[in-house]
């Protein structure tokens, strides 16, 4: 294991492809949670409106 390994990105020691995959989970998760949060806010606003 060396810090100068071309294929690996530090400090995680994952390869570029692996790091990109981990990142894609983060992106997907953010999208899903964002959509869920938006829907939840719309539904809550319908029962107890907080603007106007």
């Amino acid at each position: 294991m060396s810090a100068n390994d071309h294929d690996k990105v530090w400090p995680t020691g994952l390869t570029l492809k692996e790091a990109e995959e981990v990142h894609s989970y983060l992106i997907d998760g953010t999208r899903v949670f964002g959509a869920i949060a938006l829907l939840a806010h719309i539904l809550v606003a319908a029962t107890t409106p907080w603007l106007g």
Binding site: M1, A3, W10, P11, T12, G13, T15, K17, E18, E20, E21, V22, Y25, D28, G29, V32, F33, A35, I36, L39, A40, I42, L43, V44, A46, T47, T48, P49
Partner: protein, 464 residues
């Protein structure tokens, strides 16, 4: 400065594996503690089952005063995804990830869907019931929100269970599979019983705020349980990650699985047996109350008797199969036990007393437990190692669809027969008719199992 950098990186690289969710090595024998931890995903699945079918079913009708028909439609929605289990299993079989995982990504996605569904469900239900200002909300908002919530939970739970079972099968050698199946069933039952008690106690004094807290608490519990369950379970497979051979299409993989002798027959057996046992699920309690004159407390205990029977059946099956028993022979036995069970349940309406009835319910529970365990083990055994996800998906698709349809059909049939203008039948008529159908289904299941059983016994004899 450069030294410092090298020092930090070196330390991080050494420490990191401890904080990363990968299994160290694929050990041939899995310690029981790790297996128990993996089975936690079944608790989250059991929890969502109970929350939907039990707790929210009651809350929607009693507290939120929604119509029974609307509630029925909402609760049936997750069933839409049951046949897709085969596809989910297949996708996880052929999944190619740079990390060398194929099950964890799907369990994680399923967990997110289930979490999202629970997160919006209480608000959707409140809008649906016209709580607060929601009376002025557009009429489609409530049903749409609730439908999305139920679909998300259903899809998530199906995905988590299918792929989770596939992961469990991946991790253990064939000899240990009966033990794992038993463990998975027991945790599912434990999760259902435990969460039924907890949800029941928490929602004793219903308020809208409490509904939100309980359902969203279930959402958080889902994430926690599932992450703990899959943490460091699946080893990374670098060879699979680097593999570039084309993956088989779903149709190709499916027809490959169907070419394995006996697969179709095994799936038919699962459908018949599950439907045979499943129709009684919703009818035993009203039957005991309406026809046999049992009190509410007594009929509630019936569910406990049935669950206890299921546990006994699972334990028996795990024991016999762990000692090298033939799964299909046991599956036939499971279907067989139901025959005297339902016979005695029907007899109970002729005034043989509730003692015999309770005993019969216990027998039905035992039969259902043995049947479920044996058919799942048979599916695991028959599946080619590379197609375990698909095979378990097919089993789950057939099992969940048959169980859902059986419950729906049982209620519809009872109400239809009850509505018949014929005065000849008493209060027991509609129930006895459904129980008789279950007897027939189990007989057909037995007939389906016999050739399979003979084949399996012959193969076993040829081997040994």
């Amino acid at each position: 400065m450069a030294d410092f950098r090298a020092y930090v990186i070196g330390n991080l690289a050494r420490m990191a594996p401890r904080y990363l969710p990968f299994a160290d090595v694929a050990t041939p024998d899995l310690p029981l503690a790790r297996l128990l931890r993996l089975s936690l995903f079944q608790i989250s699945v059991g929890m969502s089952l109970v929350l939907l079918v039990g707790t929210l079913n009651r809350v929607m009708i009693v507290e939120l005063k929604l119509s029974a028909a609307l509630v029925g439609v909402m609760l049936a929605l997750p069933l839409v995804f049951a046949p897709l289990r085969a596809l989910m299993g297949y996708r996880s079989d052929v999944h190619r990830s740079a990390l060398g995982w194929r099950r964890v990504p799907f369990i994680w996605k399923g967990t997110m869907l289930q979490f999202g569904g629970f997160a919006i469900m209480p608000f959707a239900l409140l809008v649906l019931s016209g709580y607060g200002e929601a009376v002025d909300a557009p009429f489609w908002l409530g049903p749409l929100g609730a439908a999305i919530a139920f679909l998300l939970v259903g899809a998530g739970a199906h995905m988590v269970q299918t792929v989770g079972l596939a992961l469990a099968t991946d991790l253990v050698p064939e000899a240990d599979q009966p033990r794992v199946v038993g463990l998975m069933y027991v945790t599912l039952l434990a999760g259902m019983i435990g969460s039924a008690l907890i949800f029941g106690a928490l929602l004793e004094d219903y308020t809208p705020g409490r509904l939100i807290r309980v359902v969203q608490g279930a959402a958080v519990a889902t994430i926690v349980l599932n992450v703990v369950a899959i943490w460091k379970q699946e080893p990374r497979d670098r060879r699979r990650a680097a593999d570039t051979t084309p993956r088989p299409e779903f149709a190709e993989a499916w027809s490959g699985l169907m070419r394995v002798p006996g697969t179709l027959r095994l799936l038919a057996l699962v459908a018949l047996g599950t439907a045979g046992y499943g129709m009684a699920d919703v009818l035993l309690e009203p039957y005991g109350g309406e026809v046999l004159g049992m009190s509410v407390a007594q009929t509630t205990r019936l569910t406990a008797v049935m669950a206890a029977g299921g546990l006994i059946g699972i334990a028996l099956a795990a024991r016999v199969l762990g000692r090298g028993g033939i799964p299909l022979r046991l599956a036939a036995l499971g279907a067989l036990i139901g025959l005297p069970g339902f016979g005695a349940i029907i007899l109970a309406s002729f005034g043989t007393g509730t003692g015999l009835f309770i005993l019969a319910v216990l027998l039905v529970g035992i039969g259902a437990g043995i049947f479920g365990h044996a058919t799942l083990t048979a599916t695991m055994r028959a599946a080619p190692r590379a197609q375990i996800g698909l095979a378990l998906g097919a089993w789950g698709a057939v099992q969940a669809t048959a169980a859902g349809l059986a419950v729906a059909l049982a209620g519809i049939l009872r109400d239809l027969i009850r509505a018949l203008p014929d005065p000849a039948h008493g209060a027991e008529g509609p129930y006895v008719a459904v129980f008789a159908i279950e007897l027939i289904l189990l007989l057909v299941a037995l007939a389906t199992a016999l050739p399979l059983m003979r084949e399996a016994t012959r193969r076993r004899a040829a081997q040994g």
